[in-house]
Structures are given as structure tokens and as C-alpha cells.
């Protein structure tokens, strides 16, 4: 199975880079960026991720708006929201806009990889 490309979008860069490093250790190609604009820049630079791990509450463009931008750019990219500020409402809205899954921080790495693989296989 080809290792998926993962883009981590989180204003907590410390979290994003650490998680990216852990995913790379597990064979994934992972990048971490600090916001939606940077994420869109990565996408524009022709680095197409299979799965985006997206924080919900970020300065500037929030997670749901970023979801829309990503889906507009490439509807096939699967997005998993990974947030500490979860709520059922935002989860439902996200699902309606094409969100693959919704996970609460802190998340177990095994569970996260399982969800990434499911999303990547879709």
C-alpha cells in the first residue's frame, strides 16, 4: 500500500510538526502548516495531499472555511478535523460539507492512523 500524503493544518505548529514527524516515522509523507492560507499555498504548489488533518479554530480562516476551500480545490482530498474545540454542531456541518471524520485532541496515534488509512483508501 502506497504511503499517503498527509497535510496537517494547525495554528499550534508545535503540535503539527511533531505529529508530522511521527507520521513520517510511520512511513507517511507529512507536512505541517500553521493556517489555511499556507495550506492553500501548499496545494497550489502542486503538493497534493491524500488526507488533510485540519484544526477547527484557527486565526484568520477557520477550519470549516478551510474545508470549503480545500474541497473547492480538489473534492477528492479527504479531510479529517482534529480539534480540541469540538462540538457536535461543527461536526455535523463539516459532514454535510464533505468532511471524512471528526476527531478530538489529544488522539491516540494508532486510532489516527486507522482513520487516515480509511480516508486515504476512499
Amino acid at each position: 500500500m502506497t504511503a499517503h500524503r498527509i497535510l496537517i493544518v494547525d495554528d499550534e505548529l508545535d503540535f503539527g510538526t511533531t505529529l508530522a514527524e511521527r507520521l513520517e516515522l510511520r512511513g507517511f509523507a507529512a507536512k505541517a502548516v500553521g493556517g489555511a492560507q499556507e495550506a492553500m499555498a501548499v496545494l497550489a504548489a502542486d503538493w497534493r495531499p491524500d488526507v488533510v488533518l485540519l484544526d477547527l479554530m484557527m486565526p484568520g480562516i477557520d477550519g470549516l472555511a478551510a474545508l470549503d476551500l480545500i474541497k473547492q480545490h480538489d473534492p477528492k482530498i479527504q479531510v479529517i478535523i482534529l480539534t480540541g474545540h469540538g462540538s457536535t454542531e461543527s461536526g455535523i456541518i463539516g459532514m454535510q460539507r464533505g468532511l471524512f471524520d471528526y476527531l478530538m485532541k489529544p488522539v491516540d496515534i494508532g486510532e489516527l492512523i486507522a482513520r487516515i488509512n480509511e480516508a486515504g483508501a476512499k
Binding site: 505529529l19 511521527r22 469540538g86 485532541k105 489529544p106
Partner: protein, 585 residues
């Protein structure tokens, strides 16, 4: 008394509503008493006034009636005596006009006439002829020896000579028996002197006529003359010729009526003159208050008043208690709603706070988790890392701490999100069985017997399956924790009525003290402070919120040393209640 009654507050009427420095029991008692007094005053004062006015009016009417009755009786008695005398006078006038002095001086002739007169005029004692010189020339009657008697000094004789007809006062005369005379005089055409025909009548005749006026209310009736001598027998003042003092006399032909006292009793006295006689008729009639009809009226009024007072009093007592009870009920309902709202608001605020805290903690917790995870990864990959095992142990502990902290934050978020429910039709007994399947091993391990009394064919309820599991899991877990080892848990389910089903979960644990019991559903309130299994203080609070959101009710009762019982009630599902449940969902 009034201070106690009105609780010493400014407004006695509303002390029950305004006074806050007295106990609720005393406040409602005070309110009840105030209502009682006000309503008694409202009902009984008008009743008393009306009765009083009726009393006075009826008394007045009765007095007027008594006076009218006395007047009528006096009029009637006077007419009877006058008629008798007029008839006798007419007869004597006929005799004296028909016969001469010589004719009537003939005893046989006189006796013949006397017999004829006596037939028609009762009470006639004798008949005599008295010459112009005052010497009785002829006599017919029971008293012998009166012929030849000299009446020239007698008052009646002189009066008879000066008038054509004269009725005398009562006197005893030669016969020494009280009587009166009706005398007529006539001028002899030869001697041109007046002679007199005299009829004597005993006073018993007057008594008989007066007795005809005897009615129920009549006290006494008699005749007197102007000088105060009785002319007939009186019930209270003696016989004929006895003295009597009359305080007031009528003018001419009037009937005078006035009130007199005999002892403590008042009566009406009617006094009238009998025309062409020297007599005054005196009639004493019972006062209004002495009449039977008055006593009867008073008794009826008293009976009516007593019945009205008792009925009104009873009704007012019942009504004041009823109203005070309703006030109390309304106040208690209001207090319960306020308390409930306060509790709900508190839960909502704490929920929002908990969610905020959990969210804020989750991010740094995630960084810690990821950093520790990365360190684990790196150390795990490097087989030559010194102290590798020790590092891995430490990092595993760190991860465990992160997991523990995550459990708490997720539970806090669960508490905040408890309002989000997905309602389906569920069978309480099935849920209970499911929950017990999780817990039975734990219970068996601690030698706790779970005794089920589940009613068959229990109606379904509309609730969130998962949340309902959490409710029973929390309560039964609490029961197991309370018992610790060796005990019983009784779980009962039954239909309470057409509208509700209930589940009662009782344990034989140590029970809960009253001061703890009142806070048991408060968030972050826990009694598991020093146990190895620490509580978050959210379990029962979440349970409370879940049950309430599903339209149910949870109550707890406990006795220290005996055990604790949780009773959870849910509304039975029916077609009509679906819309309401959906709205809530």
C-alpha cells in the same frame, strides 16, 4: 392574642404573604387566621345587622299591634257596657213613660213589670219607686224591708231628679252590697213633683260583661270612678269599692293608651270614659315582649341565627383552610420551579465553563501527547539509546497521564453535551438487562446480589438508548460502590399509572447523610474523595441532566445505616406525545 394572630406585622391581612422573618408554617397559619377573621367579618356582620334590624322592626310592629289590640279591646268592652245600659235605660224610660206614680206604687203591678224586665235584662236585682220626698213607696226584689226607706239624702236620688236618666256609681247602700242604680225621673202631672223609678244592678253583671273582653293578651279589665274607687272586680287591684290610683285620664270620649310597668314587665293601659256614666274603663294589655308570638319569634330568630352562624362559620373555616392550602401549594410549586430553574441554569453555566476549560486544555494536552509519542517513537527505534527502557517507561507513564487527562476533558465535554439526544422507542427492562450484563461480574466479584423485579409488558418510552444506559450505569455503579462488598441491590420496574413508568434502584449500602443528600445532583459534588477510584462529581449530575432532558424525573431517598433508593420515572410513550418529544430532541 392579636400579636400572635397577626404575627406582629404591619398589615395583619397580608402577613402570611409579606412576612419573611417567620417560619412558613407560622406564616400560613397566620394567613389562614387572617382569612378566617376577614371572611367571618364579611359574612357574620351583615347577618348580625340584618337580624338586629329585623328584631327591632318586628318588636316595633308588635308594639303597634299590641297598642291597636288594646284600643280595639277597650272600644269593644266600652260598647258592650254602653249597649247594655242603653237598652236598660230605654226599657225603664218606656215603663216610666207608660205608667203613673200610682200605677207603679202598686206592688203587684211593679212586680209584673219587674218580672218582664228581668227576663230581658240580666243582672237586674230589683225595681223600686221612690216618691218626690225620697221615700221608697214600692219595691220588688230580694231585699225585704226596703219599702219606706228614705233616700232623700242619697246622691243618686238628687242626680235622678235633676236628670231624666241617671246611672250611679257603685255603692253599698242599705243592703250593704255593692251595686249601682239606673234611675229615671218623671214629673207627676197632678202634684207637679218628680218621682223616680229605680233599677238596681249588681256589680257582678259588670264583671260578666267585662269578662267577655278576655283575650289571650288581656291582663286586667275593670271600671273605676273619677275618685279612684273600683266599680268592678280587678284581677290585680281588688273588688268593687276598693281604691285604685289612675295616673292619667282621657279627655272626653278619647281612648288614652300608655305604657305602664308591673314589676319588670311592661304592659299597655287603655283608659276610656263610658258615656253617660260616672265610670272609666281601664284595660291592661300585655306588652309586646310578654306575648307568646314575641317569644316564638325570638326563638325562631335565635335558631335561624345559630344555624346561619354555624353554617357560615363552618364554611368560612373550611374556605380559609382551603385557600391557605392553595396559597401554600402555589408557593411550593413556584419555589420548586424556581429551584429547578436555578439548578438547570447552574448546570448550563457549569456545562459551558466545563466545555471551555476542556477545549483549552485539549490543545496543550495534544502537544504533550504528541511530543511524548515522538520521544517514544525515537527512543523505541534507537536500540542503543542509553536508559532506553527507563525512558520508555517514563514516556508510557506520561502517555497514561495524557489519556487520563483526556478522559476527564472528554467527560467534561460529554457533560456539556448532555442535551444532545437521539430519541427512539425503548424498553426499560431491556436497557436494565444490558447495563447489568456490564456490571454483573463486578457485582459477583464483590459478593453483591442483584435482585430483579421487572414488570412484564412494561410500556415503551421514548428516550436516547445510549444515554439511558449511561443513566442506569451511573446509578447502579454508585450502588455497587456504596455497598463495596457483601450486600444487595434491588432493581424494580413497574408501570405507575397510565402516564408513567418507574425504575427503583435500592442498595443496602451505608446510606447518605441528609446534608450530603441535598447536594447529590450538584456538579462536581463527590463523596469518593479518598478512594482509589476517585469520582469526578459529574456522574449523578450528568444522570440528572439526562433524565430531565428525556422528560423523566429522578428522586433519591436515603437512610443512614439502611441504604439508598433512586427512583427514576419516565413518561410512557403514546402517539399524542410524539411531537412534544421530537421538539425536545
Amino acid at each position: 392574642m392579636s400579636k400572635k394572630l397577626f404575627c406582629g406585622v404591619k398589615s395583619p391581612l397580608f402577613c402570611g404573604l409579606s412576612s419573611r422573618d417567620i417560619s412558613p408554617k407560622a406564616r400560613y397559619r397566620c394567613m389562614r387566621n387572617s382569612l378566617l377573621i376577614v371572611m367571618l367579618a364579611i359574612t357574620l356582620i351583615p347577618l348580625s345587622i340584618t337580624s338586629g334590624l329585623n328584631f327591632i322592626q318586628y318588636q316595633q310592629l308588635l308594639r303597634e299591634d299590641s297598642q291597636a289590640n288594646a284600643r280595639w279591646n277597650a272600644e269593644s268592652a266600652r260598647a258592650t257596657i254602653s249597649a247594655y245600659l242603653e237598652k236598660l235605660e230605654a226599657a225603664i224610660t218606656v215603663v216610666i213613660d207608660t205608667y203613673t206614680f200610682e200605677d207603679l206604687s202598686d206592688s203587684k203591678k211593679l212586680e209584673q213589670i219587674f218580672k218582664q224586665l228581668k227576663k230581658e235584662h240580666q243582672g237586674l236585682v230589683d225595681l223600686s219607686v221612690v216618691g218626690p220626698d225620697g221615700i221608697q213607696s214600692a219595691y220588688v226584689g230580694p231585699y225585704g224591708g226596703l219599702v219606706g226607706k228614705d233616700y232623700s239624702d242619697s246622691l243618686w236620688f238628687h242626680k235622678a231628679l235633676t236628670r231624666r236618666m241617671y246611672v250611679s256609681e257603685v255603692f253599698t247602700g242599705f243592703r250593704n252590697v255593692p251595686h249601682f242604680v239606673v234611675a229615671a225621673s218623671k214629673k207627676d202631672p197632678y202634684s207637679e213633683q218628680y218621682w223616680v223609678l229605680r233599677a238596681s244592678i249588681d256589680t257582678e253583671t259588670l264583671d260578666r260583661f267585662l269578662a267577655l273582653a278576655d283575650t289571650e293578651a288581656l291582663e286586667d279589665i275593670f271600671l273605676i270612678n273619677d275618685s279612684g274607687k273600683l266599680q268592678s272586680a280587678s284581677r290585680y287591684h281588688g273588688g268593687a269599692m276598693d281604691d285604685f290610683q289612675l295616673t292619667r285620664k282621657p279627655k272626653q270620649n278619647d281612648i288614652l293608651i300608655f305604657e305602664e310597668m308591673r314589676g319588670d314587665n311592661s304592659f299597655y293601659r287603655a283608659v276610656s270614659r263610658i258615656q253617660n256614666t260616672p265610670w272609666l274603663l281601664v284595660l291592661d294589655q300585655q306588652g309586646a315582649e310578654a306575648r307568646k308570638i314575641w317569644h316564638s319569634f325570638k326563638a325562631r330568630l335565635l335558631l335561624t341565627l345559630t344555624i346561619c352562624f354555624l353554617a357560615s362559620g363552618g364554611m368560612v373555616i373550611w374556605l380559609s383552610r382551603f385557600l391557605a392550602g392553595k396559597f401554600r401549594e402555589a408557593d411550593e410549586t413556584r419555589d420548586a420551579i424556581l429551584s429547578e430553574t436555578e439548578h438547570s441554569n447552574k448546570l448550563a453555566s457549569i456545562g459551558r465553563l466545563a466545555a471551555g476549560v476542556a477545549h483549552e486544555i485539549n490543545n496543550p494536552l495534544a502537544i504533550i501527547g504528541e511530543k511524548a509519542g515522538l520521544m517514544q517513537d525515537l527512543v523505541g527505534l534507537d536500540q542503543n539509546f542509553s536508559h532506553r527502557e527507563k525512558f520508555l517507561d517514563q514516556l508510557a507513564s506520561l502517555q497514561n497521564a495524557v489519556v487520563r487527562a483526556r478522559t476527564i476533558t472528554h467527560r467534561l465535554l460529554g457533560f456539556a453535551r448532555r442535551m444532545e439526544t437521539s430519541l427512539t422507542l425503548v424498553q426499560l427492562n431491556e436497557i436494565l438487562q444490558e447495563v447489568l450484563s456490564f456490571l454483573e461480574k463486578d457485582a459477583a466479584y464483590r459478593n453483591i446480589h442483584v435482585i430483579l423485579q421487572l414488570q412484564e409488558n412494561l410500556p415503551v418510552i421514548r428516550a436516547d438508548h445510549g444515554q439511558l444506559q449511561q443513566v442506569f450505569l451511573n446509578v447502579i455503579n454508585n450502588a455497587i460502590d456504596a455497598i463495596r462488598n457483601d450486600g444487595e441491590i434491588h432493581i424494580t420496574s413497574r408501570r405507575e399509572n397510565n402516564k408513567t413508568v418507574m425504575v427503583a434502584i435500592s442498595d443496602t449500602g451505608p446510606g447518605i447523610a441528609p446534608d450530603v443528600l441535598k447536594n447529590i445532583f450538584e456538579p462536581f459534588f463527590t463523596t469518593k474523595g479518598n478512594e482509589e477510584k476517585k469520582g469526578t462529581g459529574l456522574g449523578l449530575s450528568i444522570t440528572y441532566g439526562l433524565v430531565q432532558k428525556m422528560g423523566g424525573k429522578i428522586e433519591v431517598s436515603s437512610e443512614v445505616g439502611v441504604g439508598t433508593t433512586f427512583i427514576i420515572t419516565f413518561p410512557v410513550y403514546s402517539e399524542g406525545s410524539e411531537g412534544e418529544s421530537n421538539d425536545r430532541a
